[in-house]
Structure formats: structure tokens, C-alpha cells
């Protein structure tokens, strides 16, 4: 703590990425740029680690007075948790960018969104929230804009709609309460609601607008359409941050609306119950559940690595939203844990995808194969990420999903729990494909001289891989942290063992059993199995005749039967719906423009006459 004086903790965390990003942009030379960028990204994570003691036991406040508004930031255990996760992925992203990007532009805007995210996590009033929210969106948007105008437009329009809903909601809060501080506004609003100073519809509207704003960023179906394009058409190192952390800003927004503002929390009770569940949260839970199912199905059907990861990311954030909606201690604890594990494994995934694209220049499954021996370290990382995402112990992904599942069961939401299960199964289906199609099997001849990923990228991957294992084997570490800011009802027996009211998960014993099992299997494989070495060229036809039109190898159209089964549903696409909406808007704009500004001065005079008539009628009556 003495290393960084308390007063500097927040400003350093907030502004060092941005400042160094600008520097990297100004001194746009190889190495200088990269070193500056990495320093900028390293400061927050360092400062936050040093401030852990103070932040977890108390709070560190920081205020910027712009004169017009006071911007208020607080580092407490909740914001520390989120900010630290963000900073960790941030430094990994910086290492990744050192390898994948050679542009000052990328550094500037990726670090700008870094600052934005930190601000969102630390903000304690709506103006700072909005300011940094926009900064974050803007930075990420510029990253997409450079690469694909159409996708960036989609992302931008949805983000702006979200941002303006937030602005409207903030305005509505401020208009009634006269304050912008979360706690004050919330209390005043609660008081006003009780005294009837604010109508229920008014508060409902605020609530809905906030959820719309945060839902866009979190990618809740049907607001997710920007995600595949924006995540995919981007520098993949940056996407690790984009998908790993920026989506968490949306989640964090949900947490603000649900828990930090008890007045909005009060709405749940005002909205009544539905089959014994609070209607408000039940809706959120189902929004999350739908997101999980839809996104997971779509992820299964993708032929492009980036698209697969993007949909998977949407689906995984859906878990978090679902868990928040389940709204009991265990589920919320699970949600918090999943925030951590999703950031880690999905960040890792995107860095792997960055390495693959950097080294091979390919993105589609059909072009990959047999890379495990060419990129062994990356493959090891991929294995960790796959295991964690699929929810296989002893990875972090298992612990968090397990908690969410327990929570849903406890809340008596069997259908929701069912979607968790379905989502997990689908997740398994798509990661298996990722694992096999990319790393095993026959290697296309043009990939023969592929080299291992560059060192910085590997460093970035390692930074993200370690927590996946550590928090998987020692979930108690994370839960202990989460218990500081939520009463989660999860007991920490030891670092390795956590208990919910309905069950216990001892990661260490599971790990040990797993290791023993694997060891036995390995021994059997080495000494006992009647294995025959065959060439990789004939491993995957399973005896079926292969025709060109129905060629279901794992690298191509592997899940086409599923797609055919889902044919009816796939006809409906939110993507197309939005496209059609956009076209309608443009047609309307043209109609208005051509109709109203028709060039004829006589029509214009008629407009004047009509207004005069209105005035005359009013004046006389």
C-alpha cells in the first residue's frame, strides 16, 4: 500500500492506459509503441494488486470536479473485483497486440476502451458511468470501424441506442431526484416511490431503459446481433478484451440496476410475482436463458472460428445474466464467479484465435488441421480454454457453472436449469469441434511451415491460462472474494472446497481423482492398448462413403444435420430483422425528404400557411 499512495490508485488505474495509448499513437515506431502500450496496460493491474488490501477492507474514493458535474469514483471490493479482472485481461491483450498489431491506431483505441472499462467499473455516479461507458464504446467501435464498415455500423447503431437509453434514464433519475450519485439517487427514488412522488410507470421506464442499455453491451438476445461481426472483424488480441471484459461492463450494469440501486430492486416486489418468482428478475432469467440457448445453437453451426467464439461468448454471458435473474445468493455468487472464469477462458480463446490467424492467415475450420505439433504451447493453452469453457473440472469454468446450476435448482427453476444443461451440452459440441478440427487430424499441406505463436502472445495466453487452473482447483479463493460484497450463501470450507446449501464441491479431490484416472488411462494406453499406428490421412471417415455434396467431415458442415433439423427456426433471424428495420428507416427517411423538401416553394408556402392557420384558430378560440 505504501508503494502507491492511496490518492493515486484510482487516477493511475483510470488514466494510464489512455495516456500511454495516446503516447503510443504519437510515437508510432516499432518497439517504442509496443513498450509504451504494454506499460500503459500493466499499470492498472499492478496498482490494483497493490491496492487489494485497502480496497477489500475499505474503500478508496476519488473525485474529479469538472465544475459542471463532480465525477465520483470508488474502489471497493466489488469494483476491485471487476476492475482487476478487466486489468488482467487488459495486460494479456496488450501482450497479444504487441504481436498482432503494428499500428498506433490500434493501441490508441484499444487502450482507450481499457480506460473506459475501468471507469465504468469504478464509477459511483451516473455521469462518470455514462462518460466512461461512451469512451469504452467509442474505442471499441473505432477498432471495428477500421476493419469493417457494415459491422461497425451495426455495432454503433445498437450501442448508440443503448447509450441514449441510458442517457434518457439518467435524465429521468436526475429530473426527479436532483442527484446523480448511485446511492443518493436510489434512496431518493425509493422514498419518492413510497410517497407517491414518482409513478410506477416512471420507475419502470427507467428500469427498462437501463436494462436496454446494458443488455446491448452484454449481448442479450435479441440485442446480440452486433456481437459476431464486431468480435470477429477485429484484431483478435483486442477481441480478447472486447469479448472478455467489455461484455462484463454490461453485466456490471445489470448488477448496478439490480443491487446497487435498491429502489430499482424495490420494483421487483412492486412488479409482483409469477409462479412464485419475482416477475422482474424472472424476466431477466429467461432473457439470459434464451440467450444461452439461441447463441449456443448458432455457435454450433458456425464454420468460422471467430464466429463460433463470438456466439459462444454471447451464450456464456447469457449464463451470467441468467444467474443474476435467478436472484438467490448461490446463483449470484455463481454469476460473479462466471464473470471471472468467462473473462479468463474467453480471453484465452481469442488470443489463441489471434495466434492462429497470425500464423496461418486462415479463419475457417475447413482450412485448419493438425496444428498441435506445429504450435504445441498454443495447443496446451487451447486445451485449458476448451476444458474450462466446456465446464470440465478442475477448471474455473466448471466451478462457476456448477454454482449457477445449484442456484437455479434451489430457486425452483427447473426449466432455466434445463437451459443451462442444454447450453453446456452444446458448448461441449462446439468446443470439441474446435479442438479436433484445428489441432488434430490431417494437416493441409499449406500449413506445413507454420511456426509457434510469437513470445508476447504466448505470455498473454499464459497470464490468462493460469487463473483458469488456479481458480478451478481453488474455487474458494474466488468465492471468498465474492463473499466480501455479496451475501452469497456459499460456504468456503477451504481454498479447495466450497459448499452451497445443497452440495459441496471439493476441487482438490476431484482433481486428484482426475489425475489418477488419467494416469491409469495413460498407462493402459502406453502398455496395454492394442493400438495400431495409422496415417492421419484416413482417420475420420468412419467407414462412410464420402461424397462432395454431403461431406460431413469435422472440418466442414459437421453439424449440418442439426442445421437441417433446426431449419424452421433458422428461417427467423434477428440479423435479417434488423436489416429490414434499417432499410425501412432509410426508405422512410427518403420518403420524408422527398415529400417534405420537395423543392417547390409553393408547397413551402403552404406549410407556412398551415402553421398560420393553427395559430389563427388558437388565437381566436
Amino acid at each position: 500500500m505504501t508503494l502507491v499512495p492511496e490518492a493515486y490508485v484510482v487516477p493511475l488505474t483510470l488514466f494510464s492506459p489512455l495516456v500511454f495509448g495516446v503516447l503510443a499513437w504519437l510515437f508510432d515506431r516499432d518497439w517504442i509503441r509496443e513498450i509504451l502500450g504494454v506499460i500503459g496496460a500493466a499499470v492498472p493491474v499492478t496498482v490494483l494488486s497493490l491496492a487489494y488490501e485497502k480496497a477489500s477492507s475499505g474503500t478508496i474514493s476519488y473525485t474529479i470536479d469538472t465544475g459542471v458535474f463532480k465525477l465520483h469514483f470508488v474502489l471497493n471490493s466489488l469494483s476491485w473485483y471487476f476492475a482487476f479482472i478487466g486489468a488482467l485481461v487488459g495486460i494479456a491483450m496488450a501482450f497479444g497486440l504487441s504481436s498482432t498489431s503494428r499500428r498506433g491506431y490500434d493501441w490508441l483505441f484499444s487502450l482507450m476502451s481499457f480506460t473506459g472499462v475501468m471507469g465504468v467499473f469504478l464509477a459511483r455516479d451516473f455521469v462518470s458511468l455514462f462518460l466512461f461507458w461512451e469512451l469504452m464504446t467509442f474505442g471499441s467501435f473505432m477498432m471495428v470501424l477500421r476493419r469493417n464498415r457494415h459491422e461497425s455500423l451495426k455495432y454503433f447503431v445498437l450501442s448508440v441506442i443503448g447509450a441514449y437509453s441510458m442517457l434518457l434514464a439518467i435524465g429521468m433519475v436526475y429530473a426527479k431526484t436532483g442527484t446523480l450519485d448511485y446511492a443518493m439517487a436510489s434512496q431518493t427514488l425509493l422514498l419518492l416511490t413510497k410517497m407517491g412522488g414518482v409513478s410506477k410507470a416512471y420507475v419502470d421506464t427507467i428500469f427498462a431503459l437501463f436494462l436496454l442499455a446494458f443488455g446491448v453491451k452484454a449481448g442479450v438476445v435479441p440485442l446480440h446481433v452486433w456481437a459476431p461481426g464486431a468480435y470477429g472483424e477485429n484484431d483478435q488480441s483486442y477481441t480478447s478484451f472486447f469479448s472478455g471484459v467489455l461484455s462484463k461492463a454490461g453485466v456490471y450494469g445489470f448488477i448496478i440496476t439490480l443491487f446497487v440501486m435498491p429502489s430499482l430492486y424495490g420494483i421487483y416486489f412492486a412488479m409482483g410475482t409469477f409462479h412464485g418468482h419475482l416477475t422482474g428478475t424472472y424476466l431477466i432469467a429467461w432473457a439470459g436463458a434464451v440467450t444461452v440457448v439461441v447463441a449456443s445453437f448458432l455457435a454450433v453451426l458456425q464454420e468460422d472460428i471467430r464466429k463460433l467464439l463470438a456466439y459462444s461468448s454471447v451464450g456464456q454471458v447469457g449464463y451470467i445474466i441468467l444467474a443474476l435473474g435467478v436472484f438467490n445468493g448461490v446463483a449470484v455468487g455463481g454469476a460473479m464467479f462466471h464473470v471471472l472464469s468467462h473473462a479468463m477462458f474467453k480471453g484465452l480463446f481469442w488470443l489463441i484465435s489471434a495466434a492462429l490467424i497470425l500464423r496461418t492467415g486462415k479463419t475457417r475450420f475447413e482450412d485448419f488441421g493438425g496444428l498441435a505439433e506445429k504450435m504445441p504451447v498454443t495447443f496446451a493453452m487451447a486445451l485449458i480454454a476448451v476444458l474450462s469453457l466446456a465446464g470440465i473440472p478442475p477448471m474455473a469454468g466448471f466451478a462457476s457453472k456448477w454454482l449457477i446450476y445449484e442456484g437455479a435448482i434451489q430457486a425452483h427453476m427447473p426449466l432455466v436449469a434445463g437451459t443451462i444443461f442444454l447450453g453446456s451440452a452444446l458448448a461441449f459440441a462446439y468446443v470439441v469441434r474446435f479442438l479436433y478440427a484445428v489441432w488434430f487430424g490431417q494437416r493441409p499441406s499449406d500449413l506445413d511451415d507454420v511456426r509457434e505463436a510469437p513470445l508476447p502472445l504466448l505470455v498473454g495466453m499464459t497470464i490468462l491460462a493460469i487463473p483458469n487452473i488456479v481458480f478451478g482447483i481453488a474455487p474458494g479463493l474466488a468465492v471468498r472474494l465474492i463473499n466480501r460484497f455479496f451475501n452469497t450463501n456459499i460456504t468456503v470450507n477451504s481454498y479447495y472446497s466450497i459448499s452451497t446449501p445443497t452440495g459441496t464441491y471439493n476441487a482438490l479431490s476431484v482433481t486428484l481423482v482426475l489425475i489418477v484416472g488419467l494416469a491409469i488411462a495413460g498407462l493402459i494406453y502406453i502398455y496395454g492398448a492394442n493400438a495400431r499406428k495409422i496415417k492421419v490421412t484416413n482417420t475420420y471417415q468412419s467407414g462412410n462413403p464420402v461424397t462432395e455434396e454431403y461431406n460431413l467431415v469435422i472440418r466442414r458442415n459437421f453439424y449440418r444435420p442439426l442445421a437441417e433439423a433446426l431449419d424452421f427456426w433458422l428461417k427467423y433471424s434477428w440479423d435479417r430483422f434488423y436489416e429490414r428495420l434499417a432499410n425501412l428507416t432509410e426508405d422512410f427517411a427518403d420518403w420524408l425528404r422527398e415529400g417534405f423538401y420537395n423543392g417547390n416553394v409553393q408547397s413551402y408556402s403552404w406549410y407556412l400557411a398551415i402553421i398560420l392557420l393553427i395559430l389563427a384558430i388558437w388565437g381566436v378560440l
Binding site: 423538401y597 409553393q602 408556402s605 403552404w606 400557411a609
Partner: protein
């Protein structure tokens, strides 16, 4: 000389305004529209004058036998003078524009002068 009731002046002035507006709204020829605009201005000026009119008094020109007590309110008359000057300037401007328009478009039909639109 007996002067009709002041309401008649108002009526006349407003009729002129309405006639002018009718012209602007209906006539297709640019010159007719400009003339209609002038008619509107005339109507407005007449209205201004009649606002300052006090029954039985004469023009506010300081001369023998006419002091402040015998004259009508002078301010509207000053206003109208200004307004007339402004009206002349506008009309002159408009006519010069009309000349250019005729040169460039070959017509004064305002339905055909609509290159700028949308």
C-alpha cells in the same frame, strides 16, 4: 371630411394581406408570387398606419396649426416609412433573382424551378 369607422381600415388591410397570401399559395408564376408578396406588404403597412390613426386628426407633420395635439400618432408612420424601404429592397432583390432564374432555367414557373430538393 368624415372618415369611415377604423374597423374598415383593418378590414381592408387584412383583405390585402389575404389576397397576397392567396396569390403566393396559388399562382405558379414567380413574378405573380412576388407581386403578391408586395401586396401583403402593402396590407401590412396599411394596417400599421391604421393602428396609429386617431379619428379626426391630421398627418403628423409639424406645420402651422398642427401641433402634437392635432396630429395622429407619428410612430407608426415612421415605422411604415422604414417598412416601405425594406419592402422595396426586398422586391428589388427578388426581381434581380428572378432575372437570374429566367436566364438559367428559361422559365418562371416555380414548379419547374426545383433543382434543389430532398
Amino acid at each position: 371630411m368624415s372618415v369611415p369607422h377604423i374597423g374598415l381600415y383593418y378590414f381592408g388591410a387584412l383583405s390585402l394581406v389575404l389576397v397576397g397570401i392567396y396569390g403566393v399559395l396559388v399562382k405558379k408564376n414567380l413574378l405573380k408570387i412576388l407581386i403578391s408578396l408586395s401586396i401583403v406588404e402593402t396590407g401590412v403597412n396599411l394596417l400599421l398606419i391604421s393602428v396609429g390613426y386617431i379619428t379626426g386628426r391630421s398627418a403628423p407633420i409639424l406645420s402651422e396649426g398642427i401641433g402634437p395635439k392635432q396630429a395622429v400618432d407619428p410612430i407608426p408612420q415612421a415605422l411604415v416609412l422604414t417598412a416601405i424601404v425594406i419592402g422595396v429592397a426586398t422586391t428589388a432583390m427578388a426581381l434581380s433573382v428572378a432575372i437570374t432564374l429566367y436566364e438559367k432555367y428559361g422559365t418562371l414557373n416555380i414548379e419547374e424551378i426545383r433543382r434543389l430538393r430532398g
